[in-house]
């Protein structure tokens, strides 16, 4: 394999993985607080649209990214309000949010299907970016790719290095106990859901601001669901999100390359690989870890909390 092909495969993988990292790391925090939000797809698509619209009108990538964040957050607040204050079932509410987000974005975006924008470009650091191999792979990626990695680190830091993170985890594991010692379960969960919405919005916007300069309804094409799967794959551990996303995005990209290299396996079966590989690798990780009980599953995942006091 020649060098430039290798580099473009790796860059292709970062592009395919980053939306998944954003959406999954947001959902991870949500689930760590004990909430299961199946509306990731709906929040992503709203982010994709708002990012695109703002980039189209202002041409400012900062505003576009901000709009995507706020858009994802805004629509997730519906979910947060319903599940936290009106105690609705999280699974059903999340699915409804997906339907609503897809419909809303398709309707609101009708005027933008004819348009195109200026993409957010990869960075170029003088000298560093010019180092062979390492330069293109480490120092000249898209700024949002770095941001995704930073977010993963921040979530890890928050969960394990701050008091609030500890509280959030304890709420996810036993909301009644956390409530009993005086923590505000609803407030923590509400904030976590908003953060999840913001990250999903960013993940969606990555598609319309970095990957392709177009808007089309349903353009997230199921990536929100994959992100949900990756949270489980990661066993709710932040850094494993990166592993999962690179694995999934990587195999997606590699199977496209494999078709070009003319590997004699039918494309349908190659297309199954990313889905099967996530399952198989998680199983083999479990075997490697000697099948220890998985302690990172938030015990209260999906359960409704209402303070009786």
């Amino acid at each position: 394999m020649n060098e430039s092909l290798f580099i473009s495969i790796i860059i292709g993988i970062t592009i395919a993985s980053t939306p998944l990292i954003f959406a999954a790391i947001g959902e991870l925090l949500v689930e760590r607080s004990g909430v299961l939000n199946l509306g990731v797809e709906g929040m992503m698509i709203v982010g994709a649209l708002l990012g695109f619209i703002v980039q189209f009108h202002t041409g400012s990538p900062y505003l576009a990214v901000l709009a995507a964040l706020l858009g994802g957050m805004a629509i997730s607040s519906i979910f947060a309000f319903l599940t936290q204050f009106l105690l609705t079932n999280q699974v059903a509410t999340g699915l409804a949010l997906t339907l609503f987000g897809l419909g809303l974005s398709a309707f609101a975006g009708r005027g933008y299907t004819e348009e195109t924008i200026v993409l957010i470009k990869a960075i170029h650091i003088p000298f560093l970016s010019d180092i062979p191999v390492i330069g293109p792979l480490i120092f000249s990626l898209n700024p949002l790719v770095y941001l995704a990695l930073v977010m993963v680190y921040l979530v890890w830091w928050f969960l394990y290095k701050t008091k609030q993170g500890l509280i959030l985890r304890s709420i996810g594991d036993n909301h009644d106990a956390a409530h009993a010692i005086g923590h505000n379960v609803v407030r923590y969960r509400f904030m976590a859901i908003l953060f999840g919405g913001a990250m999903a919005g960013l993940g969606g916007a990555f598609l319309s601001l970095v990957q392709v300069p177009i808007w089309g309804e349903d353009m997230t094409a199921g990536r929100g669901w994959i992100a949900l799967g990756l949270v489980v794959f990661a066993s709710w551990l932040p850094f494993r999100i990166i592993l999962g996303a690179i694995l999934f995005g990587g195999i997606t990209v590699l199977q496209l390359h494999a078709q070009g290299f003319d590997i004699r396996i039918s494309a349908q079966y190659l297309s199954m690989l990313p889905y099967l590989a996530t399952i198989i690798i998680l199983v083999s990780l479990r075997i490697r870890l000697k099948n220890k009980t998985n302690r990172t599953v938030p015990n209260c995942l999906g359960r409704i909390f209402h303070s009786t006091s």
């Binding site: 009106l86 339907l99 809303l104 199921g222 489980v232 349908q268 079966y269 889905y275 996530t278 479990r286």
Partner: protein
């Protein structure tokens, strides 16, 4: 401050009133939206088309039941697992595999007449769905791999597998090499129970299954077992119930029923296997199950409600040239309100005047 006070017992009045309130709220919100986007069309006639026409029109009403049947069957199966806290969110995949298995049997015996063919197809579809769901059960029991991941990922695999089958062994030999199966012969088609419509026997079976499930959950020991495991895993262990058994049984039941629904779809309204078999029923049925608060009889009604939103939504699109996104927005809102109004059943809303 508004406060929620839990009721000692679920309010009987609210069980009936809350859906009505939800419908009213949906109507009001939809009204506001329609006023914004429709200028010269009577909003009342939009409402009629959306809510009433599918119930009164002699063509649309049986279609409503056709659409509700798979949702009902899958929803029932899922509700059993959800009671036990088993998150099978990939019923769509089990539905597809069931459809392939049932359809493959029908195609294998192409043009063979026989009363035994349909039961055999049904059996194949149930086994297919069960086997597919059992992968998730096995991985959860043996390796503690969460079923959310496995069932979800296997859904995508099932859809690709369907595509491969229709490109290969199940392809119609006289079909110009398009990825579709033959059209099933009459013996492989479900009997129609309403002459001149597509309403098939699967709907009756769905109703019967709901009654059986209701009875089962009320009386049967296994019903008790899954209920306890779901609400208090530790208590269930003390009571001697086997957690692994619950995981296995609830995935097998939900998988088997989803598989059966796939067969009903293929041998019912579709009449052949096509890449269009997966149509989000597996996901929509999750909503159906929770709208009904996992109650089998409630599932009959919630599946009808969701089916109404589809059939009515299509008619509105046709009648007023509206984009399909309007239907989705409307469905989302409908669900939000239904879920939200549910709170009135379990809780009393009181205005707390004293400061806390």
């Amino acid at each position: 401050m508004i406060k929620l006070i839990p009721r000692v017992e679920n309010s009987k009045a609210m069980i009936l009133l809350s859906p009505l309130l939800a419908l009213t709220l949906t109507a009001v919100s939809a009204l506001i939206i329609f006023i914004f986007i429709l200028d010269d069309i009577k909003v009342s006639s939009v409402f009629f088309t959306l809510f009433v026409l599918p119930l009164t029109d002699s063509y649309l009403f049986p279609e409503l039941l056709v659409k509700a049947a798979p949702l009902m069957i899958i929803g029932l199966g899922l509700s059993i697992g959800f009671r036990a806290g088993i998150w099978n969110i990939g019923a769509e995949g089990q539905y597809v595999i069931g459809g392939i298995a049932g359809g493959a049997v029908g195609l294998y015996f192409y043009n063979v007449e026989g009363f035994w063919l349909l039961p055999l197809m049904a059996l194949a579809s149930i086994i297919g769905g069960m086997l597919y769901a059992s992968i998730a059960a096995f991985l959860r029991i043996r390796y503690q791999v969460n079923e959310i991941l496995v069932t979800l990922m296997l859904t995508y695999v099932a859809v690709l597998f369907l595509s491969a089958m229709l490109q290969g062994p199940l392809r119609n030999p006289a079909g110009f090499n398009f990825p579709e199966s033959r059209i099933f012969h009459d013996s492989a088609m479900l009997p129609i129970i309403w002459e001149g419509t597509r309403l098939h026997i699967g709907f009756i079976l769905a109703i019967i299954l709901s009654l059986v499930a209701w009875f089962g959950i009320k009386k049967h020991m296994f019903g008790m077992q899954i209920k306890i495991t779901g609400s208090a895993p530790r208590a269930a262990k003390f009571a001697g119930f086997n957690d692994n058994k619950t995981v296995l049984y609830s995935l097998l039941i939900s998988g088997g029923l989803a598989g059966l629904a796939g067969f009903f779809e293929a041998s019912g309204p579709a009449g052949q296997l096509t890449p269009g078999l997966p149509q989000f029923y597996g996901f929509t049925a999750i909503i159906v199950a929770f709208l009904a608060r996992l109650h089998p009889i409630g599932i009959v009604f919630s599946s009808l409600l969701i089916a109404l939103s589809y059939v009515g939504g299509e008619e509105v699109q046709i009648e007023y040239n509206l984009p399909s996104s309007i239907t989705q927005i409307f469905q989302g809102m409908l669900l939000f309100y239904f879920l939200a109004c549910d709170i009135l059943i379990k809780y009393k809303v009181v205005l707390n005047k004293t400061k806390d």
